[in-house]
Amino acid sequence: MTMRAPITDLPIRFENVTVAAGAVTILDRIVLTLNPGPPTVLVGPNGSGKSTLLRAAMGLATPSQGHISWGGREDAHPTRRAIVFQRPVMFRRSVGGNVRYALRASGVARAEQNRRIDDLLALVGLEQLADRPARRLSGGEQQRLALARALAREPEILLLDEPTASLDPAATKAIEDIIRAVSQRGIKVVMATHDLGEARRLGGEIVLLHRGRAIESGPASSFFNTPRSGEARTFLAGELLV
């Protein structure tokens, strides 16, 4: 378990991926490639399929049609990917215990765990709260702990589902600073947001989803300055995209 696979999970390739729940199509024939590099930001209104796309990229949502491949393999276990859900679940353990759990799950030796816990909690600014029960943290603190727990797995790809939703500006800035630092370390960040300001601040590449379809994707600068699709222009103009 401590051996790190020399193979890579990038690029993550969606080939005509459809994900359906019963009669409802959540993702509709998605064609998308997630390459190494700056963060990819998924934007779009609620229910546009952002969360499901992240889950599919993680390997947690099985396509009803089409294929997803990670570095060319379709059977890649999520050992090199980590996800922070929109409402992360805190294990009934201390803050440090939550990070330790993730470290142990990815096979980090016991002797190394304490040092890694200190490093990770320092990275997200929770080092003072290591012994606090995780479930008593505030929303922003729980998001930061979930980030630390995801990073404990030393992912190559970090998937984030609206990590700053319902956080105040200070907590949002703290999370965005961590995301920036993580991205600069070479970890591929893929995050969903419906906050265009956040997409502007963090995005290297933007993917606009609407009703389960990838409407437009490309570098952030061209998406914001010269949107090609009508949906993108509507969305950027701050009008309601329904």
């Binding site: 050992t79 996800i83 679940v89 009934r92 353990r93 759990y101």
Partner: protein
């Protein structure tokens, strides 16, 4: 035991016969709860996590078995352990071991059913995170049991309450033999039918005091542990 001396007085003066009854009661009950926990907690956890045909039916049966009538359990264990029964060669009938077996049969479904519910609720909450962390089946079971440990204490206490209060099963398989298989509940049943109501009431008070003390201890331990870990 003379009729005019209350059980409380006997207890206070350290009457060896009475202490032996209390000791045997506790020994049988705690052994049964321990065995039932070793069987029921993993079984309940597996029932919570594994999907297979007829699962719902088995859960209904398991829940129904929480209401097993003790005398019926006593009768079945009696038949199994009696000389001509399938386990007759073990020679366990009318021994404390037979009483432990009967109470284990009685308590295991209670612990398993309550564990199944507790673990399943927690699994629904943890499923996404644990799948994302690539945790295997054994790791899932251990994590869920550990993280549900404070709730599982309640399941164990329910089992303990059942075993401590029960008389029907152990009086059949134990035989209420003085100095050997007589427990507090069987002694109460006997003394009441003999007409020694004060002794029965005294024993009843001792029994209730022990049940309250065990629950208070578990509550205190749980509170202390929760403050530290939660």
């Amino acid at each position: 035991m003379p009729d005019d001396v209350s059980a409380v007085h006997l207890l206070l003066t350290g009457d060896p016969a009475l202490l032996a009854i209390v000791r045997l009661s506790l020994m049988v009950t705690f052994s049964a709860v321990l065995l039932a926990a070793l069987i029921g907690v993993p079984f309940g956890a597996l029932m919570a996590l594994i999907r297979f045909p007829c699962r719902e039916g088995i859960i209904v049966v398991l829940n129904a078995l929480m209401g097993l009538p003790p005398v019926v359990v006593g009768l079945v264990v009696f038949l199994a352990l009696s000389r001509s029964g399938p386990l007759g060669s073990w020679g366990l009938l009318f021994t404390p071991k037979a009483m432990v077996i009967a109470q284990t049969v009685l308590v295991t479904p209670i612990i398993a059913a309550l564990t199944r519910q507790t673990i399943e609720d927690l699994w629904i909450e943890y499923r996404d995170e644990m799948s994302a962390m690539n945790i295997g089946p054994a790791g899932r079971v251990m994590t869920l049991i550990w993280d549900a440990r404070f709730s599982l204490v309640t399941a164990l206490l329910a089992g303990f309450g059942r075993a401590a209060a029960e008389v029907g099963a152990i009086i059949i398989v134990g035989g209420n033999i003085e100095g050997f298989t007589r427990t507090m509940t069987t002694a109460i049943a006997l003394e009441t039918s003999k007409g020694d109501v004060p002794l029965a009431v005294g024993l009843g008070m001792v029994l209730i005091a022990i049940v309250v003390a065990v629950n208070a201890l578990a509550w205190t331990a749980r509170r202390a542990a929760e403050r530290m870990a939660a």
